[in-house]
């Protein structure tokens, strides 16, 4: 539809902003690392203080990359859901995938006897146990959605079904929380805050690979997503195989939402807000060829900024990422929309 090159300026701006925020994110943290030291370390030169090296290379850089990948993937996932369901309130968790992950983690931490989960932990570690539980939970909901899709004919029914699965799993989690021990409850709640800094480099590679698959499917579906702008009937008349397309979009969304939830926990708001943000910034096109990559960059930028804020630079304390995303994001969107009306 529209030429990518026409939007070169906009993309340069986004990429430039992303780079700038990355520099800020890496140089700001609880421990004060001087900027020139940070640059030296990233370029591979040895430094005086090995602590700086450890913090930067083993903590801040993986965290920043995680933030960008997660933010971008959630943004794209949200965009796909918003276009497919023709609903601006849809987000990456609308199919209930993240709720499934929460159920898995809740079962691990609070459902089974506290002590048998100790056993799991002592064999593979708590973090991996949580990741596996979250993955299994998302996969369960994913299968349910697939089965439902085979029987459904339209997108609205699927949306309602996804929301219902989400409610159901949330209800079960509530019951589990009621019976959980104090420690287990606290662990669960803390998991639900999300955590970007818990991934090491090799895990990051795995996450990147998985997200790449999900993103590739979304990119492959760009043409169909454009056709879907007019709704399913017109899309079909333009040559879209609705059922095949539905499966592809569900697959892509489940991979993106499921993998991010499994590795970093549920991160709210970004998936919902990034598409709106981009749409407010570029109102001259709705072509997904432009909007999708822009939303990826926008989501990456948003989450990176939120992470920088959550670190409370200079302080020894940190804030949970989930609290920050809505705190910063919602006023931003409100501001932009109010400007728009004028």
């Amino acid at each position: 539809m529209t030429e990518l090159s026409k939007y070169k300026g906009f993309f340069s701006f986004l990429i430039g902003m992303l780079f700038l925020c990355l520099v800020f994110n890496l140089s700001l943290g609880s421990v004060n690392i001087p900027l020139w030291e940070a640059i030296k370390i990233t370029l591979g030169y040895p430094t005086t203080k090995p602590t700086f090296e450890y913090i930067l290379l083993d903590y801040r850089i993986p965290k920043a990359i995680t933030a960008m990948l997660t933010g971008g993937s959630l943004g794209v996932c949200g965009l796909v859901m918003q276009t497919y369901f023709k609903n601006p309130l849809a987000g990456p968790y609308v199919l209930g995938i993240s709720s499934g992950a929460s159920l898995g983690v809740a079962l691990l931490l609070m459902g089974s006897s506290w002590l048998s989960s100790w056993f799991v932990f002592s064999e593979v570690g708590l973090r991996w146990s949580i990741m596996i539980a979250a993955t299994l939970g998302s996969f369960l909901v994913f299968c349910l959605i697939l089965i439902a899709t085979a029987r459904l004919n339209n997108s609205t029914s699927l949306l309602i079904l996804g929301l219902m699965f989400g409610s159901l799993t949330a209800a079960i989690v509530n019951i589990l929380m009621f019976f959980g021990s104090k420690e287990a409850l606290q662990k669960y709640v803390f998991w639900s805050f999300g955590s970007l800094g818990n991934i090491n480099t090799s895990e990051l590679k795995i996450l990147s690979f998985i997200l790449l698959i999900g993103l590739s499917i979304a990119v492959y579906s760009i043409k169909n997503l454009n056709s879907l702008l007019l709704g399913e009937n017109y899309a079909r008349s333009l040559g879209v195989s609705l059922q095949k397309n539905r499966y592809l979009l569900i697959l892509s969304s489940s991979i993106l939402a499921g993998a991010t939830t499994a590795f970093v926990g549920p991160i709210g708001f970004i998936g919902l807000a990034a598409p709106h943000l981009i749409r407010l910034l570029i109102s001259s096109t709705r072509d997904h060829k432009i909007v999708l990559p822009a939303v990826f960059l926008g989501g990456a930028l948003l989450l990176l900024i939120c992470d920088s804020i959550a670190q409370i630079p200079g302080s020894a304390y940190v804030l949970p990422i989930n609290g920050i995303t809505s705190l910063i994001g919602a006023p931003l969107i409100i501001l932009l929309i109010l400007r728009q009306k004028g």
């Binding site: 609880s30 450890y54 801040r60 002590l115 932990f121 708590l126 021990s181 020894a316």
Partner: protein, 384 residues
Amino acid sequence: MKLKINCNFDAVKRINTLLILGLLLIGCSQTSTKINSTNSTRYAQGFSIENKNDHKILSLKNTLPGSSKIFRYLIISEEAKIPSTLNYDGIIRTPVKRIVATSTTHLAFLEELNATENLVGFPQTDYISSVQIRKKIDAGKVVDVGMSQQLNVERILEVDPDILLSFGVDQIDNSLKRFNRMGIPTAFIGEWNEQNPLGRAEWIKVFGLLLDKEKEAFEFFDNTEKKYLEAKKSTLKIKSKPTLIAGAIYQDAWYLPGGNSYLAKLFEDANTNYLWRDNNQTGSLALSIEVVLEKGKDANYWFAPGQHTSYSILTAEHALYSKFEATQKRKIFTYARSKGSKGGIIFFESGACHPDLVLKDIIHHLYPNLEPDYIPTYFLPLND
């Protein structure tokens, strides 16, 4: 169901509420921060025992943070008459024969006083490590009374205890009233609220009082105190203090004990430099991982790394763990490896009762040459 309580309890309380409030207000200055410890406590701040002619008064401080309420219990023998002058939050006839406890720490105290036979009910018995009590559980003699936050009232009534040992916190007034109405006095055992290790052990005196075994309890505590102080003294000859870190990462923060906490006090008494001893918190701190790395990277020792039991899992959990000197030099010690048959951690059960052993464990790992043949009970080195 036997009613051991004066049925007029509630009515009398209503009439005398204002009087009591007035008395409490007057006595507030004395009792606001801690119970007057002249009577029988040397370290514990959560209880005090007053000896009267034919009865005793046990005062227990409310464990709710910021509260200055004190619960007073009349401790009186089976046959004696209840003096009707004052109100009590509970009347306990000694010796108590049927006990429902709610924390494994209570069981350790019972075991020391040879009173495990008196245990009739406990919530979620899997947590219990004590071999003796496990035998009782297997014989079906200990009733599972639900969950510690949500005790099953019917089960408790069925078991018909003489006393319910709660650990308090939020639902204090509710459960007190509820079980009192049913004739079961509830005592809030707040040993966990003591930051001084000897203060925690001193709560055995409360158990001694309830079981009519005060002499044994006092003897046990004096002995424990002696051994603790001896152990503490033995470290004074060490010239250079080793540095120490504690805690572990969960999600995005490192949780470690505050400078005024129970563990911090143990580290202090072991003559170490716990790197956060200057902090004045009694609870746990949630700090940025970067800060802990910067300050504690070169610490000599690392105690209580959360639930970790092996170096392989520890280093896999977070990239920064392996950067600590304590990890590289294999100087990490945990309480998570000593478990009961069903997985309950022994430190959480009998650690409070044996601060001398806890301290000696720590000292042994810090300075193995002091007593090469010592076998630690609670703290063990991490597995590979």
